[in-house]
Amino acid sequence: MLAAWPPPGTTLLALAIGRRVADGGDAPEFVPPASSDAREFLREVGFDRYLDGHGAARELERQSGTREMRQMAALDPAYIHQIADLLAERVPEMSETTSHLIGLCMKELLQNVFEHAPEVPGGPVLCFVHSRWYLREHNVRVAVVDDGIGIPAALRRRQVRGLQRASDLDVVEASVAEPGLSSGRGRRGLGLKLIRDIVTARDGTLTVISGTAKVKFATRSRIMRGRKLPQPFRGTAIEIDFRPGKAIPIASEPADEVF
């Protein structure tokens, strides 16, 4: 999907608010994925300028606020905190809790990417993070796209029972619905299910594309829409999209005041 990668560890950044948070470099170049659905999704989540080969192009008219993009070869907590702080600073109605949640979701997503990195032949896995906010729509969108083996292949390699013959769509749905499915060594992670719960509790959506699956978990009723893509997407693209003003506590389920 992606071409002209710099050496691992190099940071590439394109941003529109005049604040650099990492080393400079050329804008990343994208070779559009074969799947038109995947191309459309990448366009939706903010990679349009790069798909079109205009890394430093103007802001989209409807967009206002942050536009940051960074290529990573390892999880960088400091960068995630910078993004969360930046959103907290710039986005109206952004509460401390929401800023915290954005950081939490990004860490979980990136951890998923790099936890599975050793499984990729010829690694390392590279991934892009992109966050935006829209004044008019009052929403924040964070996208994480990687060029790893993808969720279906990763789970099939782990020989998770019942998923060997399942479709990519079923595997991706299960990876979100059933916590711990992708966690190794007997661990039962919270991962995508936690993110889905956090996001949908705030009138948001979680969209996942991997292999031939595109799955969207939507607001309130938590309706899930799944679609089989005609051509597979190499890697995984995930976007969370939610309203910063929703004053909802972190836990989507009642939690005790243990501490």
Binding site: E108, R185, G186, G189, L190, L194, A251, P254, D256, F259
Partner: protein, 175 residues
């Protein structure tokens, strides 16, 4: 009061491996005799994986009263405290559900795998009536048990597998 300074234990506080290191440090230092302070001074965590592998894992293995009695996290931001409480609560519920399903399986075996009465369950389990009812409700949603119209509880095939720990063994055997 004994104290563990988190930043001395792990240089980063993101990954499950970081959380695992903290858990090991806690397990070395904690006791019923003295509450252990876990000091997050100067740290911003916002990592569910880190909290889950440290405190969450402890809540899977020990009653909530023990966790609360032995540990005192300090210098946590409010969002981090809320996240920690959420994870510990979630794992504590999971622990109770496991205890309940294992108890149902044990009693069910005594009844030739037939349904059991709620009263039988209550008399033998290490949980309160309220905890048992909440766990059964959750187990029913997950398809592990079925509550019959007469109130008795029947273990499903999936519930038997869960009670035997086959599901976990399956997971832990993965590469």
């Amino acid at each position: 009061m004994a104290r563990v300074l988190v930043r001395d234990v792990t240089s980063t506080q993101v990954f499950r491996t970081d959380g695992e290191q903290l858990r090991h440090a806690i397990e070395k230092a904690w006791s019923d005799a003295d509450q252990l302070e876990v000091d997050f001074d100067g740290l911003r965590i916002d990592s569910a994986s880190f909290f889950d592998e440290s405190f969450g894992h402890l809540a899977l293995g020990h009653p909530l009263a023990v966790i609360r009695g032995r540990l005192r996290p300090i210098n946590l931001s409010e969002p981090d405290r809320a996240l920690l409480n959420s994870i510990v609560t979630r794992r504590a519920r999971e622990r109770l559900e496991r205890l309940v399903v294992v108890e149902i399986a044990r009693l069910s075996a005594e009844h030739d795998l037939g349904p059991i009465a709620f009263g039988d369950l209550r008399s033998g389990g290490p949980f309160t009536e309220q905890e048992a009812r909440a766990s059964i409700s959750s187990l029913e949603k997950r398809g592990l048990v079925r509550v019959l119209p007469d109130g008795r509880i029947r273990l499903s095939q999936r519930g038997r597998v869960e009670a035997l720990g086959v599901g976990d063994a399956d997971r832990s055997s993965r590469p």
